[in-house]
């Protein structure tokens, strides 16, 4: 194994991975976007092949913008070509050059949208549910009028944290909750805290800002780099440099684990350290279980739950740890949905020109869900949950909500 490199060197490493492509076409057959639209020529074409025609001065190709960034190609490539990472960079160059449209700037700053919406949350939610306003949004902002958009909340997660008297313990973890928990789904953060505390941990929840992932996926790299290095500083409260950092948002966890290094070429001492110590919540719990440390005082949960592992979590290369934990819960009928992608891929599927594509990508998954008719759909990624509920009408939850219920929570 070669040493892990950071900064510009990390990107150089990703770029040279194009040399490993032997044109076998495996990636082309696995890409969910190329399968449903002719607008996207496929991973081999826009990845290792097109990269040879890019100099970094001027982007020759536009079709790479249709790559959703789901990362499936990079996972299936037998030669370890970093196709999705190459594409991310190319999209960024494209937007840097042509200027990201206003819509990309907006969906790229969930804090901004959340903040703008919060003081008037009921009004904001009404507006987002109002078809006339959504049509206007599509015309002016390019956000598809049917695209799933989160509901804003009146009380942020930090508000709750401020009023939460956490247990003290010698065993401590840092919780990285991400923006969606902060602005839209504070109950997720509350449950994560409860589960960790139930297992004897003191949960340190520092003040934290956005990780920069949406900025990155919309090509706003310098801003994204700034965001992730700032976040890494925030995640070492009191200079702690040995605590596990727990993430309940798959995409935000992936950002810290890999993308900041491999796609953004970001680098700082805190980032290097935090990146190594970041765990997906279920990855962490499963390790506890393997060590015999997970509490298993579960109440039966007599429900049928269909589980979808989101791409961003698959890209962490940790398997599907949520399955390992949910299986322990008595009474639960667990169905694994073995489909690749729901289509949304972060903010991809909310864009006007990509909404239809995203819906077609998700079709096999939606069909499975409808055929199964589960009580709940469980998925670790917030944007995927919104997409699945919008497309199928099923109630979707984070798998930790089910775990929380098994521990006796409501």
């Amino acid at each position: 194994m070669t040493a892990v490199v950071w900064g510009a060197e990390a990107w150089a490493e990703v770029r040279s991975s194009l040399d490993r492509c032997i044109k076998c076409t495996v990636c082309e057959t696995a890409c969910p976007v190329a399968a449903v639209t002719e607008l996207f020529p496929g991973p081999k074409t826009v990845g290792p092949q097109a990269e040879r025609f890019r100099t970094g001065d001027h982007s020759p190709d536009l079709s790479v913008d249709y790559c959703s960034g789901c990362g499936i190609c990079s996972r299936v490539c037998p030669q370890e070509v970093r196709i999705a990472e190459l594409n991310s960079r190319a999209r960024a160059e494209l937007k840097r050059e042509r200027g990201a449209p206003l819509r990309d700037q907006l969906v790229a700053r969930p804090g901004l949208l959340g903040r703008a919406g919060r003081p008037v949350a009921p009004l904001f939610n009404w507006a987002m549910a109002n078809p006339v306003i959504r049509w206007a949004g599509e015309r002016t902002l390019g956000i598809h009028h049917k695209a799933p958009v989160p509901r804003s909340t009146t009380r942020t997660f930090s508000y709750w944290v401020g009023h939460h008297a956490g247990a003290k313990s010698a065993r401590r973890v840092v919780y990285f909750h991400g923006c969606s928990t902060q602005w839209y789904e504070p109950h997720i953060g509350q449950k994560v805290t409860a589960i960790l505390e139930h297992n004897g941990y003191q949960v340190v929840i520092p003040k934290q800002d956005c990780c920069g992932l949406p900025l990155q996926s919309n090509g706003l790299f310098p801003a994204a780099r700034g965001a992730v290095t700032r976040l890494a500083r925030q995640l070492v409260p009191g200079g702690t440099d040995d605590l596990p950092v727990i993430s309940s948002s798959t995409s935000c966890g992936l950002m810290l684990k890999r993308e900041a290094r491999e796609i953004l070429g970001a680098d700082s001492p805190e980032l290097r350290s935090v990146s190594q110590r970041t765990y997906d919540i279920f990855e962490f719990l499963l390790e506890l279980h393997h060590r015999g440390e997970l509490r298993t005082d579960f109440k039966p949960v007599p429900l049928t739950v269909a589980y979808h592992a989101p791409c961003q979590q698959q890209n962490q290369l940790i398997g599907k740890p949520a399955l390992g934990i949910l299986r322990l819960i008595p009474g639960l009928r667990l169905v694994e949905l073995d489909r690749s992608c729901c289509g949304i891929a972060g903010t991809y599927g909310v864009k006007r020109e990509k909404y239809e594509i995203a819906m077609r990508v998700g079709e096999p998954l939606f069909a499975d869900i409808q055929a199964e008719g589960p009580d709940l759909v469980a998925c670790d990624s917030e944007t995927c949950r919104w997409q699945i509920s919008a497309a199928t009408g099923a109630t979707s939850v984070h798998p930790l909500e089910i775990l929380h219920r098994a521990y006796g929570g409501s």
Binding site: W11, L18, I22, K23, R52, R54, G56
Partner: protein, 518 residues
């Protein structure tokens, strides 16, 4: 025997011969140009691809530097479509003498080069793969020049002015009556037929082979072929040409040419210019040398290796003969009338691709005087066909075009983005294409897979379109694939070895290439 008269018969369809044809045709002469193979298959198709800024010669050979600097400027004006404006950097690596850098800067300025010293930090920011340990950096007007585009533009231009050009016509006999050369006999390498051309003047532009051609006329030209090896790396490691700032030596330049980076070169005297073997030792020497400019160079995927022979004229040749015009330090026009008492034959020897226009001008100046048809040279300002818009070629051009290709025009070479329409257009231009000629014209099979995925498509399409019979298609494919493999044999490690394995499975396992019906 097919016979005709011409004012000038040019032997050799490399950069020099093509330049002479263009210049002569512009001056109103009727030109016939022949080559024993396809055009641009001699040294001109096997060179490094650098449009010299002059920097390489600044310290040791100021005359050449000055020539390069001014010819570079002219070619950018008249041949933009054949040139990529990559810019170039001369950098002092940790192994290079810093004192040389001062001499270099002064000499470059004296030679009239546009040169600017840039802070090391800026150079490294612009070229992220460049060795961060460099100590000085100079920006110059290097570019890369595409041999096929350039030579075909020159020939097309000449043809537009009435020239006849014949590929695969080898000069087998020079017609000499008494002390006068009156023409030559060519053998068509494909049909075996002979043609006879009577010429007012014969120009020997056979490069490293010019000694052989002069020999057919009973003259001696002591050209000494100097072989140089180059290795192409799968993608561009830098945007600009990277040169080591030191006294020129082996493997000290990396040129971004089309989709690849080419490192070179060496210089070994060889007896036969057709000796193009590249030894593993030479390849390793190049790969190691690249490390100094681009750390990690060794790990990059080497795509192909080849060599070419410089048409070097020793000093005695350039300065001795009575009546020779030592028009330049780097090339010489030998007037065999004044030199050997053999009229009607002029040899142009030495030189570079970059100075092809000047070489042609100097040669044709002598030719028109001999023919008594004096006319002004026009190549300084006459724009070549294809370059009218003055837009430099850019690496992204094909990618940009491929985006707009209609869906019913499939890519046949994915690596180099060649579509079926491109293939149809090229084969319609001339009958009798060999697969290797199509490769030169379109770059089919020059990408990472080295023909693994496109060679059989092209052969199949040419068969389907009725241009190849079955046996012809099969043997063309076999010949092409074997030729490609020759170029990867000595570099088959790492990623390229895996590719070669897969290609072999396709050709031997799926197609059973060895046993395709004749």
């Amino acid at each position: 025997m097919n016979t005709w008269d011409t004012d000038v018969l040019v032997i050799g369809g490399g950069s020099t011969g093509a330049g002479v044809a263009w210049d002569s045709a512009l001056r109103g002469l009727h030109v016939t140009l022949v080559d024993r193979q396809d055009f641009a298959t001699g040294t001109s198709g096997r060179f490094h691809g650098l449009l010299h800024s002059g920097g390489r010669y600044a310290v040791r050979d100021p005359g050449s530097a000055r020539e390069c600097a001014s010819e570079n400027r002219i070619l950018r004006q008249v041949a933009a479509d054949c040139i990529e404006d990559t810019g170039g950097l001369f950098v002092s690596t940790p192994e290079d003498d810093l004192e040389y850098a001062d001499r270099f800067l002064a000499a470059a300025q004296a030679a009239g080069m546009e040169i600017e010293e840039v802070p090391v930090g800026v150079a490294v920011r612009d070229e992220p793969r460049l060795n961060p340990k460099i100590r000085r950096a100079f920006r110059v007007q290097d570019g890369s020049i595409d041999s096929w585009k350039m030579i075909s533009a020159l020939l097309r231009g000449a043809q537009d002015h009435g020239a006849t050009v014949l590929p695969y016509h080898k000069v087998v006999q020079v017609i000499r009556r008494g002390d006068r050369v009156e023409g030559a006999v060519m053998e068509d390498q494909r049909s075996g037929e002979e043609v006879l051309v009577h010429a007012g003047c014969v120009v020997n532009a056979a490069g490293a082979w010019s000694g052989q051609v002069a020999g057919l006329a009973g003259c001696e030209v002591g050209v000494r072929p100097g072989k140089g090896v180059m290795v192409a790396i799968n993608h561009r490691l830098a945007r600009a040409v990277l040169n080591r700032c030191h006294l020129p030596s082996d493997g000290d330049i990396i040129v971004p040419v089309r989709t690849v980076s080419v490192i070179g070169t060496t210089d070994h005297p060889v007896a036969d210019p057709d000796d193009t073997e590249c030894s593993p030792a030479e390849v390793h020497q190049m790969i190691e040398a690249g490390e100094l400019l681009v750390p990690g160079f060794k790990e990059s995927r080497a795509l192909r290796v080849w060599s070419g022979s410089r048409p070097l004229l020793p000093k005695t040749e350039t300065s001795a003969g009575a009546g020779d015009r030592e028009v330049s330090r780097s090339h010489t026009v030998l007037d065999h009338g004044a030199r050997d008492g053999v009229e009607g034959l002029v040899t142009i020897a030495g030189g570079k691709f970059t100075t092809l226009r000047l070489m042609a001008e100097d040669t044709v100046d002598v030719v028109v005087r001999k023919l008594g048809r004096e006319a002004e040279c026009r190549t300084r300002t006459e724009v070549l066909p294809g370059s009218e818009s003055h837009h430099f070629y850019w690496i992204g051009n094909r990618q940009q075009e491929a985006e707009t290709d209609p869906p019913d025009d499939p890519l046949i070479c994915e690596c180099e983005l060649v579509s079926q329409h491109d293939l149809d257009t090229v084969v319609a231009r001339r009958p009798n294409w060999r697969l290797d000629d199509i490769r030169r014209a379109l770059r089919v099979g020059m990408g990472p897979c080295q023909g693994g995925f496109c060679a059989f498509r092209v052969a199949g399409m040419l068969h389907q379109g009725g241009r190849y019979g079955r046996a012809e298609a099969n043997s063309a494919l076999r010949e092409f694939v074997q030729e490609r493999w020759k170029g990867v044999k000595v570099i088959s490690w790492g990623a390229q070895a895996r590719q070669t394995r897969l290609d072999r499975w396709i050709f031997e396992g799926v197609y059973d290439l060895e046993h395709l019906p004749e």
